[in-house]
Subunit: 661 residues, 3 copies
Amino acid sequence: MRAHQRPSLADATRGRILFGGDHNPEQWPEETWHEDVRLMKEAAVNSVTLGVFSWAKLEPRPGAREFGWLDRLMDLMHDHGVGVVLATPTSSPSPWMGRLHPETLPRDAEGRTEWWGSRQHFSHSSAVYRRYAAAITDDLAARYAGHPALTMWHINNEYCTYDYGDEAAAAFRRWLQDRYQTLDALNHAWGTAFWGQGYDRWSEILPPRHAHYMKNPTQVLDFRRFTSDMLLECFVAERDIVRRHTPHIPVTSNFMPLWAGQDAWRWAREEDVVSVDLYPDPRDPLGAQYGALVQDMTRSQAAGGPWMLMEQAAGAVNWRGVNHPRPRGLNRLWSLQAVARGADAVCYFQWRQSRQGAEKFHSAMVGHAGERGRTFQEVRQLGAELAVIGPEVAGTRITADVAVLHDWNSWWAGEHDGRLSQEVDYPEVLRAWHRALWEAHLTTDFAHPEQDLSAYRLVVAPQPYLLTDAAIDNLLAHVRDGGTLVCGFLAGVADEDDRVRPGGMDARLRELFGIRTLHEWWPLDAGESAECDGFRGTLWSEELEAEDDAVVEAGYKGGELDGLPAVLRRGTAWYLSTLPEPDALRALLTGVADRAGLRPVLEGLPDGVEAVRRGALLFLLNHRPDAVTVEVPGRHRDLLTGDLVTGSVLLERHGAVVLQP
Amino acid sequence: MRAHQRPSLADATRGRILFGGDHNPEQWPEETWHEDVRLMKEAAVNSVTLGVFSWAKLEPRPGAREFGWLDRLMDLMHDHGVGVVLATPTSSPSPWMGRLHPETLPRDAEGRTEWWGSRQHFSHSSAVYRRYAAAITDDLAARYAGHPALTMWHINNEYCTYDYGDEAAAAFRRWLQDRYQTLDALNHAWGTAFWGQGYDRWSEILPPRHAHYMKNPTQVLDFRRFTSDMLLECFVAERDIVRRHTPHIPVTSNFMPLWAGQDAWRWAREEDVVSVDLYPDPRDPLGAQYGALVQDMTRSQAAGGPWMLMEQAAGAVNWRGVNHPRPRGLNRLWSLQAVARGADAVCYFQWRQSRQGAEKFHSAMVGHAGERGRTFQEVRQLGAELAVIGPEVAGTRITADVAVLHDWNSWWAGEHDGRLSQEVDYPEVLRAWHRALWEAHLTTDFAHPEQDLSAYRLVVAPQPYLLTDAAIDNLLAHVRDGGTLVCGFLAGVADEDDRVRPGGMDARLRELFGIRTLHEWWPLDAGESAECDGFRGTLWSEELEAEDDAVVEAGYKGGELDGLPAVLRRGTAWYLSTLPEPDALRALLTGVADRAGLRPVLEGLPDGVEAVRRGALLFLLNHRPDAVTVEVPGRHRDLLTGDLVTGSVLLERHGAVVLQP
Amino acid sequence: MRAHQRPSLADATRGRILFGGDHNPEQWPEETWHEDVRLMKEAAVNSVTLGVFSWAKLEPRPGAREFGWLDRLMDLMHDHGVGVVLATPTSSPSPWMGRLHPETLPRDAEGRTEWWGSRQHFSHSSAVYRRYAAAITDDLAARYAGHPALTMWHINNEYCTYDYGDEAAAAFRRWLQDRYQTLDALNHAWGTAFWGQGYDRWSEILPPRHAHYMKNPTQVLDFRRFTSDMLLECFVAERDIVRRHTPHIPVTSNFMPLWAGQDAWRWAREEDVVSVDLYPDPRDPLGAQYGALVQDMTRSQAAGGPWMLMEQAAGAVNWRGVNHPRPRGLNRLWSLQAVARGADAVCYFQWRQSRQGAEKFHSAMVGHAGERGRTFQEVRQLGAELAVIGPEVAGTRITADVAVLHDWNSWWAGEHDGRLSQEVDYPEVLRAWHRALWEAHLTTDFAHPEQDLSAYRLVVAPQPYLLTDAAIDNLLAHVRDGGTLVCGFLAGVADEDDRVRPGGMDARLRELFGIRTLHEWWPLDAGESAECDGFRGTLWSEELEAEDDAVVEAGYKGGELDGLPAVLRRGTAWYLSTLPEPDALRALLTGVADRAGLRPVLEGLPDGVEAVRRGALLFLLNHRPDAVTVEVPGRHRDLLTGDLVTGSVLLERHGAVVLQP
């Protein structure tokens, strides 16, 4: 099949925003199904995801097939105008599989088996698992290929397993043979001369299992790459099966947000629809910023195109230490934020709250309180509004002048056992940089370090610890071509094999930023800060010697690094050897953006108010704890109320307006 | 044997308070034995427990029997007027059992074997273990059935093991078959439709072993029920053996206090004597209240009758992070508290402090300092006093108008992986409510939610998360019959299978309390509190909509729940959607009790002074850090000094008086 | 071979200080080797350690031998005047060993295998491992016995493994049979009568594996002794092999500092050279004191003779939570401190920083920044200075009048599961006492409790929890002979089998200190302190009753222990029942030393300035955060500058001077 023939999210949305969620009616008596469709209609639900975790229901014993209940459900949904995202049930094998084939159960690094009785107890490398998964997928796809309710395929669910067992070890060796061809190449890549780890036969290689002391970092890195790739193989295998049956139906699998287990850049290329699950903590004062980050990242993985919010919670989740519900208005606010940032589908886990099982306290669109509950009342209002917004935004795009570099390889490699600071957490650093841009009201994309950056006047690289030669060339070209680059500490330290580059930082990058010698890294203790000119740095500092023609934009003040560069610049290439505190990083990036000719979405926005333009619409979202009036030059129409907005608009607490020109 | 023929604690006490403790003379040369009996006489010790952990001594190799040393000990005790509580040694199998029969060793959820070299390394489900345990029990009982020193049987010790291994898995399946009869019933009860856990054959069912993510809550709940029942089977098997030999001798096994592993309501029914081990931390400012709770609970399990304090520490224990001794007077104070609250036996672990082994720093009646040590000197004084008190109290009862509901099923079910708040700890909530009543000087019983509550004018239910239909009927009847009910949050949420009841709370209970809709649970963060009218709530809050005729006794103030009911009342049924801070809960329950016509044991008692009436005696116990004078209307005789008490009495720090009318 | 024929460190130093470090050129292309020797010459490096972790390089498959690369390296070093400390590579078996002989892999107490892929994955008890280790050692020694570069043998590296597996269990039984001869003796020593652990056959005995509850303390103690002895057997086996080939070459293995795994008193007797790895945290305000402690201890293990600093870090390590580099001057300061306290070798891990592997962020003499880096520049300066100092100090000794008692048995036994306080940490207590003496400017040795103490006027015993009868006799004799003894709490509690001595403290010691009765131990909570006359005690307190003729030097004030002795003295025997806060302990020991006629190294030294006399030299080391002037009576020559010093000398921050008379 040729790429241009591939279906996309637009094939499912058809000019609407999808609204709905995971639906597990097999947990309920059939009379409840009819209650469900009545309430779906009330809430303008137009999409449900069926069949996630239904393997035991579909194949209660090896080879059996029980599709009747699903037939009835598909028909019911179709009869009531609700499209179905149909899931392959392969995320949780039936109990019989573990009993008959214990080798399908994963083992962790400590050698512990992961038993059934929960979910996702499958080894990605198990031939038996894959064979059974292919069979049920094939039969499912065959059966429903022509069903009119079918709008999308959802493969598996939140791929996130690993396996350190023997079958995975064999698969790991095959993967390594593909990657390195020879043992010499592997020994070189892994630096096995250190600690006497030289391999003489492929059969000697293991996953990085429990060990006496620190593990080989490149072995661990490759095992993470391998794990992501094995899971992707599982996805592709099922995708290809359903695609054979329904080439016109788009396929997705839901990512978890900012999740270490999958290299989503690689995955997204294999998907027709990029979807994500997003669960900000309602109590997190930066919850909205975190949501924006995930949304920006997901949109970027979807090549800027619309994406699908596959799961969010209408109220509380149940996996935090303390799980808070969404207060009045917040569900609407965060849902509209997703639409503003490119979502063409706003869905939930789940439609109806389970009365049993491990997630019975995880909220749903219809909670335990039922239709009288506040949560459902707000869901109903949101459904009505999305029905209004849908035709105006579906399929439209967002323009960003700023890109944030992100690569799983940097994350993975930076987390090795023997790093200099356990306080440095890659996702936290990423959040800090994105937050600064978000608070500066600059709309941002995420980008892979090797991708074309010509669309961006400003590129920021919070922590590109590992950079391939191609990525370095790419960054150099960006600056050479007039772009601005702002780079955080621990940049270009390692090559693709996590081999430290001579000098502790790639020589071309040192030259780019004007660093003569990187003498020593000076990580900071938890809670410690480093005084700099005009701000305080956190997490990290460095003993840098600048080239004569580089500009020390800010130096360290006092201490061992007194006078050395905290912020160094050569032309439009900036290097930050520390992480400025939030306000300082925001001010710094605002200034850099300003030099680069970038302006915020709207001038004079109060803190905590988010503005995003999507297509012709302007979304204004109030994340402050109070109501606020926002100046909006010109005349707009409030899309949801029809009111005319001239000069300013009042946003209530948790309020949001969508303005049309 | 018919119930009315059963022996009881009275058969052992015969009008005295038993005083003594665990005795392990096999650790000592026989010359020490004679020193022991001399000191026992000095301290008025009249009871020792022999044979706990003596299996290797009695059966050093499979089938061997070495009773000679025990014969000599039994005779020695009898010769010196000390009765013997004889233990079956089955708590710690001999090393040979693990070596010859490794399947008798338990496995934990992670798959780790629990090896010998400590204690309690037996699988409750092991047929081999049970066979050996029965054989040694039978021979022991046969040998000492007629010995005049024998006063009681002590089966095993602190039953607390679990097993996730294969033999336990088989036993679990049998237990489930008994409970559910059919797989359909089990699948329904466990809600296996969630996450595709449907079982097709009994052989697919496992204990809730280590898994990828959250476990099935009902599977976990049933495994806890099963574990308690398996241990109870072990107990009953041994009990029946000794009972065959000595139908006239009472049988017990010692509970651990507020311990999750055994459903003590079920267990107590099988015992002739209910006994408990009690180790409050001498540094815990609420240690006395904790002791009172355990004593009230144990007495209630003994159907209000006298119970046995099987173990306490004369000084420090050795299993806390830091282990503090009992300061001067505290051992006497806490021992008299136990008597006040129904104990007819005050015993210790142990008589003589071990010089070796894991507990050599656990205190004893005779410590390392020997008879000159302060601890023994105080033990001697206590022994003399108990000899005076004994004839006045032995066999008498305590009257309580208040009952605190408690059920292991609520505790177990509420602890599932996917709960809304890890901050909510069932025993802590129970302690908070009992503390409020204790500080209000109200004597309380504990009660099972399904038991007859007609004796109580006030019933409080701190956290009845799981309630059967029968329990709900019982509570409704209590209120209907004029009783007062005060219920804490998370009440009636789940049915017997931990299935959430529609509406998030049983509809009959909602009606009882006047709750129209329970919109959302709002758990509070650690350290967070919720402002209410007149107090602050902790741990939890709720978004409740009251019925029109319900009375909002206190509302939330400010925040998302402003004005919603924190304390709601309909008639004599009260519902607290938060946990008020200690003083507020005390004030609230004092007020409710007052409305219900209940008065404190003594009016005008200072804080920290505990008053309990047992039989005709009034115990006054000073838990304050200083001396205090207590008003006592009327004339009393101080039982221990013979002094006349008119109007008031001075209680020293750690002081206690026992007053007769 | 007779002892007086044994080679020593002097055979390697030949009047110099060894300067250099671990060198792993097999990680680098051969062109780097030539760069290395050029830089070594610049830095006056005269010694490198080769071959640690090179097993896979030397024996890439079973029985293979590849010595060519090492031949070239040995020659290269010799050609450039660099001596070689040649290591046996047995610390990390090649991957093939684990694959072919999985029984060589250790198992931890939880039953987890320690896989290869890190380092030190060998079971000390494995016959297969030992056979392969002997074979490679033999061939290595045969090949390089006559090589002119060879100056010393380094056996293995940081012996620190353990094994709870089956082969180790068998070895443990053999070790126990040697120790106890009969099972009766073992049962007595272990106190197996407690908790029914009596052994009937040797085959029933296991390592102290994962168990239900606390383990038998003496079993654990013996397992620690066994583990240290098994590792020592491994060392001795390799030592004997190399000694056969090169009787004239000294042999060492590097200790880790204050490390629980090896009884270094026993080990040191088997070594020709005592060496240690020392990594104080540059951020630790007590880092210098910690260094001094390790240096004093190592020197004492070397019977006062010179010792070898085998490893230190020129900058950061990479195994702490946050790893800080050494600021300018600190590397020199701490290196000179080692020389002052007896080191005749100042070496590093490692010469050149690795670009790959788990320790690529661990610093080296030549860091990632290369020769331009500050670190290498400072290394070069240090090398030049050591070349000046070497001839003046090599082989000279240090005199101390104070000894600090230390014994691994006390450490091990005191750590048992059932101790009274988890807050009491043996090494921390040792550090506190040594710190007090260090701050008092008293030079101290460490001593084993059973060794001849006649050289010391003052002996302090921070925490001699376990004392053999011989050790007690030794302490009594020390006092009887006019010596002063100051003893910390938990003294003489246990005998060699960790059996509590009657009275909770040995009766002879109680008499020595004037303790009539030790009623109760009163451990203090974390952060709690006990008011005493003139100071506050921490960690611990005791309810002691003094003999009439003992002097209460300080009593507890207030609380339960009011007036009881905190510091008790009878003659020159002092007992501290608490740990005074640092200033108080320093003042107390200063006073005691003064009474004993001891004076500081130099009068009037400012805090934070360390003075040590070695041979004829006076080292002055500034550990303060600022510069300071030190009064030095008389006339000296500054050895490094040649300046005359009269009356006083200025020490810069991190400054050090070496003065000659």
